[in-house]
């Protein structure tokens, strides 16, 4: 048993009583103590709560109780999900020290399944960003190269997996915040079908796009976690009342003979790094060897997805973030008994929000204002319709669609932080999935020859057909593993102090 094992292997070791949940939890805290000063994946560690949870699981197992498949396996939780009495900052000064009085549904499900929550992971403030540099508490560093970004917004979750600080993590994906961090850290991330995982207790950024999902080091681990957190929730008015297809069985099937896989023409070419395209094409060749049929497809309106996204998401965020008013929770600045509530609110939001959050609130306020609404927000909503139509047409011809997850490998910290438009381009291949509310997965498909950094392969499946991306992802992962001879993270340099 090693912390480098996969979650399903840890679950088996726990089940065979080769190790206790308390021991396994402590091993992960040892690793966190050794490497997180360099990686900075975590904003908060709840060691006391985690060990209490682990003891409980061990007691139940000793008593012969029937446990969930992941009982006793540790997990890192993105700091945008509420966990009762544990700080939940969303990477923002405005929520520093806020301890929510309730659990998100995802956390309730994790606790019920006996999954051990180690702590809260770093993120771009309110999940706005692609590098985790927008965190008010400092950036997270990519374990492959500490001078580079771990992706974003969920860079803390992806880095914790790649640094072997946790075998499982929760992310949220509004425009790619699960999949792009997975791509640049050599890990697996899944954005479920919109409505498949409850948003109750997920601090809202853009409600019609936000979706929580599983992050892991293998497709099977992601599938096992996906099964734990999915399901209808009456507390989320957009929750789908329909069972998740069997994603674990789909992952284990390893047979994609005759499947039709569509390659989207628009998600390649200009702006995509050469090594990213090469690794993507090599993965396509593996899929052909496995008996899949490759179809080249055109989704012409994807070209407008990025522009539409950067109107819709800021519009919804300008409304959602109005709740940070210095009255009910979080920061209050300037309350000297003389200033009015409005002045205090203005000063609090100036001090509490970072640059990117302010930029998006102002952009959204503009796009929704009378006189500009039709030209901006209204037009973006129409583009959303066109993107959905492109997906419908594509899925009429094939079972899944594929593309590179991100146009480049991990870039240097600081390289794009002063150029919002360059930063936004990171999401060019992941955004269409969110606009249509369908499922998307990223898994590693090799190292780019220019920089020896991981490349992500994206699989997109129709709404509530999440099993299809697991079927293709599981088969491709197995083929690549036998080609490489070892998991991709074994190619990463060892972190100082790491076990």
């Amino acid at each position: 048993m090693s912390i480098r094992d996969n979650a399903w292997q840890m679950a088996a070791a726990l089940n065979n009583k080769e190790i206790s949940a308390v021991e396994l939890t402590n091993q992960h805290y040892e690793q966190i103590n050794a490497v997180d000063k360099d990686v900075h994946a975590f904003l908060y560690l709840d060691k006391e709560g985690a060990l209490l949870q682990a003891k409980e699981v061990d007691k139940k197992r000793a008593a012969g109780e029937r446990l969930s498949p992941l009982a006793g396996v540790p997990l890192a939780l993105k700091d945008v999900m509420t966990q009762k009495d544990v700080p939940t900052t969303c990477g923002s000064k405005i929520l520093e020290n806020w301890r929510p009085p309730y659990d998100s549904t995802v956390v309730t499900k994790l606790k019920d399944a006996g999954v051990i929550i180690l702590g809260k992971t770093n993120m771009d403030e309110f999940a706005m960003g692609s590098s985790t540099e927008n965190s008010a508490f400092g950036p997270t560093h990519n374990p492959w190269d500490l001078t580079r970004i771990p992706g974003g917004s969920g860079g803390g979750s992806s880095a914790s997996l790649a640094a072997f600080e946790a075998p499982l993590a929760i992310g949220t994906d509004t425009g790619g915040s699960i999949r792009q961090p997975a791509a640049v850290t050599g890990t697996v991330g899944v954005k479920p079908t919109y409505g498949g995982v409850s948003r109750y207790g997920l601090v809202a950024f853009s409600s019609s796009l936000d979706q929580a999902g599983p992050c892991a080091r293998t497709v099977l681990d992601a599938a096992l976690l996906h099964q734990v957190i999915a399901g209808f929730d009456p507390k989320d008015s957009t929750s789908i009342n329909q069972a998740l297809p069997d994603v674990v069985a789909a992952t284990k099937k390893l047979d994609i003979k005759g499947m039709k896989i569509g390659v989207v023409k628009q998600l390649a070419g200009e702006g995509y790094q050469k090594g990213v395209e090469n690794k993507f094409n090599e993965a396509i060749a593996e899929l052909v060897k496995l008996g899949a049929e490759i179809i080249e497809l055109s989704c012409p309106n994807f070209e407008y997805a990025l522009a539409a996204y950067y109107l819709i998401a800021p519009s919804e965020c300008s409304s959602n973030l109005a709740r940070f008013d210095s009255i009910r929770f979080g920061l209050r600045v300037g309350d000297d008994k003389v200033k009015s509530a409005e002045e205090v609110m203005n000063l609090t939001r100036q001090a509490g929000f970072g640059r990117e959050v302010k930029r998006r609130i102002i952009l959204g306020t503009y796009a929704l204002s009378s006189g500009y609404y039709d030209a901006y927000y209204g037009s973006a909503q129409k583009v959303r319709t066109l993107i959905k139509q492109d997906f419908d047409n594509a899925f009429a011809k094939c079972d899944v669609l594929v593309s590179p997850t991100a146009p480049t490998t991990a870039f240097k910290i600081g390289e794009k932080s002063n150029d919002p438009l360059a930063m936004y381009l990171n999401d060019i291949a992941t955004i269409p999935v969110n606009m249509a509310g369908i499922g998307g997965m990223s898994l590693p498909c090799g190292l780019a020859e220019e920089d020896n950094l991981p490349v992500g392969f994206q699989i997109m499946s129709p709404a509530m057909k999440d099993d299809r991306m697991y079927l293709v992802g599981g088969a491709l992962e197995a083929a690549l593993l036998s080609k490489w001879g070892k998991p991709i993270l074994d190619f990463a340099p060892k972190l100082a102090g790491s076990k």
Partner: protein, 98 residues
């Protein structure tokens, strides 16, 4: 001509309840101009015949039966408030002197 002026950005900041320094306004006005120039592309394909989509699902209103269920206690609900008194949120003054 710039798509958006500094004065317009200042007005948006006022509407969004965010104080901004002159330096912040100068910087943001320039950035907003660039970003708006890029996102305006949506107008190229948004014809009058295309219906808008506000949400990926065909959402309908969700209601529940009007029965009492467990909820937060007043102490829990106020636990994150910057100021409270007598089981209420304490708000800075909302009326002027005049």
């Amino acid at each position: 001509m710039a798509a958006i002026s500094r004065d317009e950005v200042a007005n948006l900041a006022r509407l969004a309840r965010i104080s901004m320094s002159d330096a912040e306004l100068d910087h943001l006005a320039g950035e907003m101009d660039v970003i708006l120039g890029a996102v305006a592309r949506v107008q190229e394909v948004a014809g009058a015949d295309v219906p808008p989509t506000s949400h990926p699902l065909a959402v309908s209103n969700v209601t529940r039966d009007d029965v009492v269920t467990p909820s937060l206690t007043p102490e829990q609900a106020l636990s994150g408030a910057p100021a409270s008194s007598e089981q209420r949120f304490k708000v800075p003054k909302i009326l002027g002197e005049e």
